[in-house]
């Protein structure tokens, strides 16, 4: 975020339905047999008075989902053909860290993982595009 962006923000909120991204991952203990696709677990939703003041996990969840959107935006901006070409980019590494963190919450037996991002474009001609990562060690 540049200082200019702070001083002259764009002020665009919920302007268009746009595209939806969905992150899923698979894990494997040996790199041969893979689990079923799993999505990161979202925090429980609560809208009480306390959450009006402090809603840390839901805000963190929004920031995490924004990471996936940023990765997709950079993928298209850079006109790339596969997610593997993004390995050196910050946005890719952050999503890898997110998936790794999620897997470590679920199991300590798994050794490998990969993930995919489904991008659904809304509108009259709804389309779905899937970006798949390469295999990573946990």
């Amino acid at each position: 975020m540049s200082l200019l962006r702070v001083l002259i923000p764009s002020w665009k909120f919920f302007d268009s339905p746009g595209s939806l991204t969905r992150l899923e991952f698979q894990t494997s203990p040996d790199g041969k047999t893979w689990s079923s696709w799993t999505s990161p677990k979202a925090p429980a939703v609560s809208r009480g008075v306390l959450q009006l003041f402090l809603n840390p996990w839901e805000n963190a969840w929004l920031a995490q989902t924004a990471l996936v959107e940023k990765l997709c935006a950079e993928f298209f901006d850079l006109n790339l053909k596969s997610l593997s070409e993004m390995k050196s980019l910050d946005s890719y590494r952050l999503v890898v860290y997110w998936v790794r963190t999620e897997i470590q919450k679920l199991s300590h037996q798994e050794k490998y993982f990969h993930f995919k991002i489904e991008i659904q474009n809304s509108g009259a001609e709804a389309t779905t595009l899937t970006l798949a990562s390469s295999v990573h060690e946990i």
Binding site: F13, R47, L54
Partner: protein, 245 residues
């Protein structure tokens, strides 16, 4: 500006406390770990400690406002935003940082009423733009013009929307269509808040309801506090503008 300062400090305290609660996410094994292209030195490695320090500074600034305390808060805010690679919660980060910058400048020039007025007006105008330009941005989209946009956002899965609101959207409740149009009208007409302080009070009241619903539906509590904190500056801007019309 004094009340905006107090409220933005309160907002900043809440944000710092929230980050402190999720500090595992930016630990050495977390998602936003240090040393991955965003080495910010000591600040980054001891972010939790600095968040505690920031909360202490906020309390001190609330007790005795001072430009030097604001410098620390502005710098720490910018560094935290950098740490999170651009923004954590988008718009609320921008409003908080913008308000902090203006308050710091306001405090830094106690002998220059013109600079202070400029800071106040800039913040007030940006808050007005935040609604108005957001409304302008929605206009080209047919989903908004047809009153269908809200239903889409409720069902998209992008946000953690409570089931009660999702059911409302699934049943195509006409209230949602009305709410979609109401959001457009509210945002596009927001500059009227600057015409007269009484109108400004009306828009601020509507704004509180608007942000309350944003919290209830999408969980955007940071947006609620960041914008409400700037309302006193908006009211002063309205008083300034209306006295010159």
């Amino acid at each position: 500006m004094i009340w905006t300062e107090r409220l933005i400090l309160f907002t900043l305290f809440l944000q710092s406390l929230e980050w402190y609660q999720v500090r595992a996410l930016f630990s050495s094994h977390g998602i936003w770990r240090d040393g991955e292209g965003r080495e910010l030195g000591l600040f980054s490695r001891h972010l939790s400690t600095l968040l505690v320090g920031r909360m202490v500074i906020i309390v001190l600034a609330l007790i005795k406002p001072d430009a030097s305390l604001m410098v620390f808060l502005v710098l720490s805010q910018v560094l935290i935003v950098l740490r999170f690679r651009g923004a954590y919660n988008g718009g609320s980060d921008y409003v908080t940082t913008l308000a902090l910058l203006m308050i710091w400048l306001y405090r830094s020039f106690p002998q220059s009423p013109n600079v202070q007025t400029a800071c106040l007006l800039y913040l007030g105008l940006q808050i007005t733009f935040s609604y108005f330009l957001s409304g302008i941005g929605k206009l080209p989209n047919s989903e908004w013009r047809k009153g269908k946009a809200l239903s889409y956002f409720l069902l998209s899965g992008k946000y953690q929307v409570p089931v009660i609101w999702q059911n409302l959207a699934q049943k195509k409740n006409p209230l949602l269509k009305l709410a979609s149009f109401s959001v457009l009208v509210f945002e596009l007409s927001f500059p009227l808040a600057l015409v007269h302080p009484n109108l400004c009070w009306v828009y601020m009241g509507l704004g509180v309801i608007f942000h309350w619903f944003n919290f209830q539906i999408f969980g955007l509590n940071r947006f609620f506090w960041a914008w409400i904190a700037c309302y006193p500056a908006l009211l002063e801007t309205s008083q300034w503008v209306s006295s010159r019309i």
